[in-house]
């Protein structure tokens, strides 16, 4: 890890590690439960991408906002989402963040500044810009960060949002998690530029490439972008180069990935990189790392128990919350 990890101190690195373990174990458990047929729908895990979610959210304040993607469990956990309530949502239970109406792809907690994960690729980018516009109109100092993938950078929503955010100097950070694949299609097969961050030039904003598997590098890049946004200097585009270890969805056979590529990236597993950096700083920290893993294991087990024991929403719930006002009449006809 060519990181400046040692400049941040053991305590900070252990905090990052703890958060990354939560993301890793949550998604591994979700994948396992899905494979066992214990939950319905579709699961998109971010195993391998923990450093971007955690590095970015650690650089934000609790009053800041994010928009997440369909691969958004890590984003929501890193922004303070509770594993038990998220797991309950994945199970479609009444105790979930969205009362079981949103599921894996739509987790939101407005109170934590999570404006929603999104099932539409790229859709969260202009929504984040709109949140930043609200901060500008209201004179607030909040920053909004949009997570999105390399695939979304080819959507019109990306370009329209970057253009307006730049023209109006909105306090927004565009964080592209370039995990190399849009479902099965490698980004270089459908995009001619090597770095998506180069697109920042077209909108006269900073475009920064970081090692997305290095949590400290992501943390530092997002911290700088957040400071810039808060100073009224406008948006930044950060491209975090990372890799998704699992398929697009659970059950995806991943025939499109070369074996040597997978092996190379697994060696650069963000948790292993951080572990190495921590142990280089303090060889005696091994016990602490093990304790963190155990603690998170218990948290995730508790989350699954909570989710499984929670009730399903009642039938009346199916027609509630379509509308805020005049719901019954608007739903009836």
């Amino acid at each position: 890890m060519k990181t400046k990890a040692n400049q941040h101190g053991l305590e900070t690195l252990l905090r990052f590690y703890r958060e990354m373990q939560r993301v890793r174990q949550f998604d591994q458990k979700a994948a396992e439960l899905f494979t066992q047929g214990r939950m319905a729908g579709n699961i998109h895990t971010c195993v391998g991408q923990e450093a971007t979610a955690v590095g970015a959210c650690q650089a934000l304040e609790p009053t800041d906002f994010i928009t997440a993607t369909h691969r958004g469990h890590g984003h929501c956990l890193a922004k303070g989402g509770r594993a038990a309530i998220m797991m309950a949502e994945l199970f479609g239970k009444a105790t979930g963040y969205c009362k079981g109406k949103g599921g894996s792809m739509h987790i939101a907690d407005l109170g934590l500044g999570i404006l929603g994960a999104n099932g539409i690729v790229g859709a969260g980018i202009p929504i984040a810009a709109g949140s930043a516009l609200a901060s500008k109109i209201k004179g607030g100092r909040e920053v909004t960060l949009a997570f999105f993938g390399d695939g979304a950078s080819n959507e019109g929503a990306f370009h329209e949002a970057l253009n307006m955010a730049s023209a109006w100097r909105l306090p927004v950070i565009f964080l592209c998690e370039n995990n190399k694949y849009g479902v099965s299609v490698a980004i270089d097969r459908v995009t001619s530029i090597a770095d998506i961050a180069d697109r920042a030039k077209a909108y006269d904003i900073p475009g920064i490439v970081v090692d997305g598997n290095d949590v400290v590098a992501v943390f530092e890049a997002v911290s700088a972008a957040a400071a810039r946004a808060r100073a009224g200097e406008g948006p930044s585009l950060i491209e975090a180069k990372t890799y998704r270890h699992r398929g697009h969805y659970e059950g995806d056979p991943q025939i499109y990935k070369p074996a040597d590529e997978v092996a190379a990236w697994k060696k650069r597993d963000p948790l292993i990189l951080l572990q190495d950096a921590i142990l280089a700083l303090d060889p005696a920290a091994a016990d602490k790392l093990a304790a963190v893993e155990d603690e998170i294991r218990r948290e995730i087990e508790d989350a699954v128990r909570f989710a499984e024991e929670s009730p399903y929403p009642g039938p009346a719930e199916v027609v509630s919350d379509v509308y805020a006002a005049d719901n019954e009449r608007s739903v009836a006809r």
């Binding site: 079981g100 919350d321 805020a324």
Partner: protein
């Protein structure tokens, strides 16, 4: 009472709501410096400043989605899409984001967004500037749809829409912008989901909205001279629907004719006809009739365009037919 145009009613509604609530702001193409292509927001930039009167780039998808984001943060954006024909450009923001946000977050948030868009034919603007697309929006749970026909309704409904916590699509008929009408002085609000009986009658219920209300009233005048007493209902709000007013009229007259400018196939009239058939079959003395636009692309040539939407003669003929005369 004072007499103003439909366009002025929009302007007054926006201005009053912006004065009343700092969270209301407007954005769209040419809204600020130019005061909108229809001149509805002239002077707003000077009065409210560039934070609340925003000239966007030509990026309907982007700025409509941004309005959703701003609404999630507690603001109340009013977006203008220059023509309803351009709304398909920003359908994701409307259909997948604004409409579903409340439900998919389990009621955590509302999207108090109003999208204003001129619709309708009659200005020789051809296929991409003359459509009536309200049926697309009535099909999406989570959206509300209004289509006012008079200045008073426009003002009262638009103000109510801005105060409503749900996303509302306000379809304005571009041929009505210059139409004049009386509007009450002072605070004037019309609740969404309340239809107006424009002309009471006992022989047949004619249901219309937007510009076709005026055609229906003209047809009713012609029919009255023939001894046919038509009741004309202006729905004003398509979602929520004022079923009570509609149903009690049909129970009284036993006949229904639905009129809209949108193409007949897949139109909202078909939905209303089905609901009347399902719930009021025993009250009916004749099949429900629809008078609607032709299933064609709006043509440019004046000689062709005037054929595509219903005129009072078409409506009168449909009423006579339903009465067996």
């Amino acid at each position: 009472m004072k007499t103003i145009t439909y366009g002025q009613a929009i302007s007054e509604a926006l201005r009053e709501e912006m004065l009343r609530d700092d969270n209301v702001f407007i954005l769209g193409e040419d809204m600020a410096v130019m005061g909108s292509v229809f001149g509805l927001t002239k002077g707003f930039l000077e009065e409210f400043g560039e934070n609340r009167v925003i000239d966007t780039p030509i990026s309907e998808a982007g700025f409509t989605a941004m309005a959703v984001g701003a609404a999630l943060r507690g603001l109340r954006p009013v977006v203008e899409i220059m023509y309803v024909d351009f709304t398909p450009v920003c359908f994701d923001a409307i259909v997948n984001q604004a409409a579903k946000m409340r439900y998919m977050t389990g009621g955590q948030t509302s999207v108090p967004l109003v999208i204003r868009c001129p619709g309708g034919a009659g200005r020789r603007n051809a296929g991409q500037h003359s459509q009536s697309l309200e049926a697309l929006f009535t099909h999406i749970p989570g959206l509300k749809v209004i289509a006012p026909s008079t200045p008073a309704d426009m003002k009262g409904l638009l103000k109510a829409a801005i105060r409503d916590d749900d996303p509302v699509i306000c379809i304005e008929h571009k041929l009505l912008y210059a139409a004049k009408g009386e509007v009450p002085e002072g605070e004037h609000l019309i609740p969404l989901g309340s239809a107006a009986v424009r002309r009471p009658g006992r022989d047949v219920t004619v249901i219309a909205w937007s510009r076709q209300v005026h055609s229906a009233l003209e047809a009713a005048k012609t029919l009255a001279a023939e001894g046919i007493d038509a009741e004309v209902i202006d729905l004003r709000s398509l979602v929520p629907l004022d079923w009570e007013t509609l149903a009690s009229s049909v129970r009284k007259t036993h006949r229904a004719v639905i009129v809209h400018e949108a193409v007949k196939r897949g139109g909202y009239g078909g939905e209303l006809a089905a609901q009347i058939g399902e719930d009021l079959f025993d009250s009916l003395d004749a099949p429900v009739k629809r008078v609607a636009g032709l299933n064609v692309v709006p043509p440019f040539s004046p000689a062709l365009e005037d054929f595509i939407y219903p005129n009072p003669g078409d409506i009168a003929a449909a009423v006579r037919e339903t009465l067996g005369r």
